[in-house]
Symmetry: C2
Subunit: 198 residues, 2 copies
């Protein structure tokens, strides 16, 4: 908040140099907003931030992780997927719904996620960004993990979960808004299970 900026800096470094990470995030937000997720690259983000691409990789890792940080998500939701997808296929729906509800219960995740959804409502730019990220980070991995499955089936399963999140956390319909996660899992997991694994 002070005019000098809140970042700690080493002595003798030029002003702002301590916030390379922040500058990369500013560049990333501009890049993702302008081009969407798929067409953006770590290289272009680095160029826009005036740093070496290796530095972007050093701070964040992959493009997906740059995106997650730029959107202020507290973690990459897709990081939970391998564990969820790896267990007993007969309980896949249950694990997915339980993990999804657990992630949405975290306000630090929910706020930026709702911000992304809001911007999808506002214009095609936001919709494209969300669509490409969800497609790449989530849907692609689900299809990859459970084998050849009709993408439309996967998307209706995701629609069931997204609809629950919106009615529970945005519209706040009762009793859904206050329901115990176990109750919701009991009702919704069979739907997700059937959609994914017939």
């Amino acid at each position: 908040m002070s005019p000098a900026g809140p970042q700690r800096r080493g002595p003798g470094r030029r002003p702002g140099a301590g916030d390379t990470r922040g500058e990369i995030l500013v560049a990333a937000r501009a890049e993702f907003a302008a081009k969407g997720y798929d067409a953006s690259s770590v290289r272009a983000i680095a160029r826009q931030a005036g740093v070496d691409p290796a530095l972007v990789h050093h701070y964040f890792g992959t493009k997906e992780k740059v995106f997650v940080a730029a959107m202020a998500l507290p973690f990459d939701p897709a990081d939970r997927l391998p564990q969820v997808l790896a267990g007993d296929p007969a309980q896949l729906g249950e694990r997915l719904v339980r993990t999804f509800l657990g992630i949405w219960a975290d306000p630090d995740f929910r706020a930026p996620m709702l911000g992304m959804l809001r911007s999808a409502f506002t214009g095609e730019q936001g919709a494209k960004l969300l669509r490409e990220f969800v497609g790449s980070a989530l849907l692609g991995r689900i299809v990859q993990a459970i084998g050849p499955v009709d993408p439309l089936r996967v998307q209706t399963a995701v629609a069931q979960m997204v609809g629950v999140a919106i009615l529970r956390y945005v519209v706040r319909l009762e009793p859904l808004a206050s329901a115990d996660p176990d109750e919701i899992v009991a009702l919704v997991a069979p739907t997700v299970q059937r959609a994914l694994l017939g």
Copy 2:
């Protein structure tokens, strides 16, 4: 568009008197925004518009119809419900999903509906309005028509349909965005059927 205003007026009437309907809608929007759906009344809307409540009923009918007009919905989605709910219970899920998709396919319905959803994302005022209208106009009637059913089950069925609408029309995920309604009905109707009628 002309400075004199687009409304037709009888000769000798005071300027604006021909737009009583419009004035009622302005008052209605203010009333619904301030109090939400449940606490608003035709009487209070009439008072705010400076007209007799009978005139509001004359122009619009019930509070629900005032709301539908104020939100610029081209028709009251709940008007379709009696027909949908009346047929063979074994095909209830199919009729609901097909009707829901048909309504959302109409851009004149979709635009104001998306506006309401957007304002629900923006703050509690919009969320409350949507929640109370959906609760009163839709959920209440479904429960009334199919008999005692766990409201949470009804809401997970609605969540499935709302999720499909959002991924199809807001996020525009492919293949869902371009899928034939019949394909979506085939995948989603069984979920809705099971949620409502076990």
